[in-house]
Subunit: 339 residues, 2 copies
């Protein structure tokens, strides 16, 4: 084991697109990993492929408790509360992380149960419109942002237990094994950011899909690439979209209100004698150009050596000023490496 290896086995609860892909990456890396899947058919398929997967939650949690595993909750938001109770009962000393796309609500449930000392929030920014074990694949997280929260270190003003620091470091290492980039962000900052770049796009796509459909057969016949791209995420399962957006209502409201103000201004201009959309259109163009520039090598480069466009900060967890380094990385959207 090198200093870069996760120091404990990993137990994944929920083997859908995210959990299943994580299982594949960790197993391919040679790390001890096993999991639980609710679906019998998914369990059977995964087992056939040679993975250690059980259909029995209690047994899986007990095994995690016995070998001091890091538990990954890879279930949708509605399943989290019940799973935390199961953890409290069957794996009371394991550290755990999650992959839910909204962090405040998960953290509230964790705090209600007094489990902050053994929890580190996570959110891999990867996924497709598909779901389930059969959609999982190795390499899903390569070059993706994987948010890791650190509120507990800030809230305890540096007096965070050493066990938590070790847990946090293991989660970073797990992220890096998958090829993802570990981006530190506090719960509220994360939720505010994803409201803008993930949840608002869903709301706008649903809206556009409806307005286009209202145009009937002629409008649909004329729709081309821009309509298809702009409504793509409207084909996501409605339950998933609702779970994300409704759970993040306060942050999404802020983003939606900004959008509504821009759209109302555009509306007023279009309704006036001399419509002039230059303010919105110029601002949108500049914003998109900045996005392209920032994204840079991340997706556009044709160079065979992909260099991340995210700034990197190397830090020693628990070391002098490390929490301030995390806050600095957060403000830059930077990735971290630990030593």
């Amino acid at each position: 084991m090198t200093s870069r290896d996760v120091t404990r086995p990993i137990c994944i609860i929920g083997l859908g697109l995210i959990g299943g892909s994580l299982l594949r990456d960790l197993a391919a890396h040679g790390h001890a990993v096993y999991g639980f899947n609710r679906s019998t058919s998914g369990t059977r398929k995964a087992t056939k492929e040679g993975f250690e997967v059980s259909n029995d939650l209690v047994e899986t949690l007990r095994r995690a408790e016995a070998d001091g595993a890091l538990i990954v909750l890879a279930v949708p938001m509605p399943a989290v509360a019940g799973l935390l109770d199961a953890l409290a009962e069957h794996a009371p000393s394991c550290g755990f992380t999650d992959v839910v796309s909204v962090k405040a609500e998960v953290y509230a449930l964790v705090k209600e149960r007094g489990m902050e000392d053994r929890y580190v929030g996570g959110h891999p920014m990867a996924g497709t419109a598909e779901s389930g074990w059969s959609a999982s694949r190795a390499g899903l997280f390569r070059r993706a942002a994987w948010v890791i929260t650190f509120d507990h270190a800030v809230d305890t003003e540096g007096e965070v237990p050493q066990e938590w620091i070790e847990l946090w470091t293991d989660v970073v290492r797990m992220i890096i094994i998958t090829g993802a980039e570990a981006i530190p962000a506090r719960v509220d900052r994360h939720d505010a950011a994803v409201a803008r770049i993930s949840h608002l796009p869903h709301i706008l796509a649903e809206t556009l899909a409806v307005v286009g459909d209202n145009g009937g057969a002629l409008a649909q016949s004329l729709a081309a690439g821009s309509f298809r791209d702009a409504t793509r995420v409207a084909s996501t399962e409605p339950e998933l979209v609702r779970a994300m957006c409704e759970t993040n209502a306060p942050a999404l409201l802020t983003a939606l209100d900004e959008a509504l103000e821009l759209l109302q201004d555009a509306r007023a201009s279009l309704a006036s004698e001399t419509s002039d959309l230059s303010e919105l259109v110029d601002a949108g163009y500049r914003s998109r150009v900045r996005f392209d520039a920032r994204e840079g090598n991340r997706s556009e480069s044709v160079s065979p050596v992909k260099i991340s466009s995210r700034p990197v900060l190397r830090l020693h967890p628990g070391g002098e000023g490390w929490v301030n380094q995390l806050i600095q990385a957060e403000s830059l959207g930077g990735r971290i490496e630990v030593f």
Copy 2:
């Protein structure tokens, strides 16, 4: 010459992405075609590639007049009025069409000048964020919708001149040569449809780009595929976006107001105690699924034999009931073939 051939030479004014690609397709088909380009460098490049391209507008229009060409106005909206005046002076008997993305304003300029008898509106639904001769390419229009207007036939209640019917038929044949599908639509129906599926997507993309950018470095770092796809058209030149949207203000207002109502409802629900986005999300999902189903073979099929998903209507221009057939095709978003 077969019955499917355009009965006259074609003269294209403006050799940017659309005009240039049309020139390439017609020349590849062996049809007599020449054009005018304002840019000296574009003219030089096109000439080097063996195309008949002039830098002299008056000379080009006089040549069109001399050989009875079909003139295609492939210029942006702001250049149309001046060009119509030049046509009136230097090519007073030529029939013409255009490729501008909004049809009401062009038709108003045509009617102001009493040129309805020799005009048929057109709009190919193809394009990229690039522009200019260097962006043009053969095959750009393959399988694209190319709208052809027929208001003059409706307005004259079937008493439309035979010359106009022949002109209209030639425009259909020209469209079919490019591999595009000719979709008949009246000016106002066209403008209402493109407001929904082309102009509103631009407005929403600009808005989303700004709101995402407002989230600063963290939000931009976390932005992934859904944000990139949803803001893609915000990278279009601002002047082009403004020209489309501002010129189509009344129809765009209708579409934007529908969007605003849906977004306001979503906002109200998010702000309430028990946020429930099911109405919007379910409707958006259903709309997008319908769009996919309609688009069907048009873009998703992996079959080597591409079959259009648009219904086809075969008609004889000027024949009994042909205008009603056009109205029927319009309501279906159908493509037409002429015999």
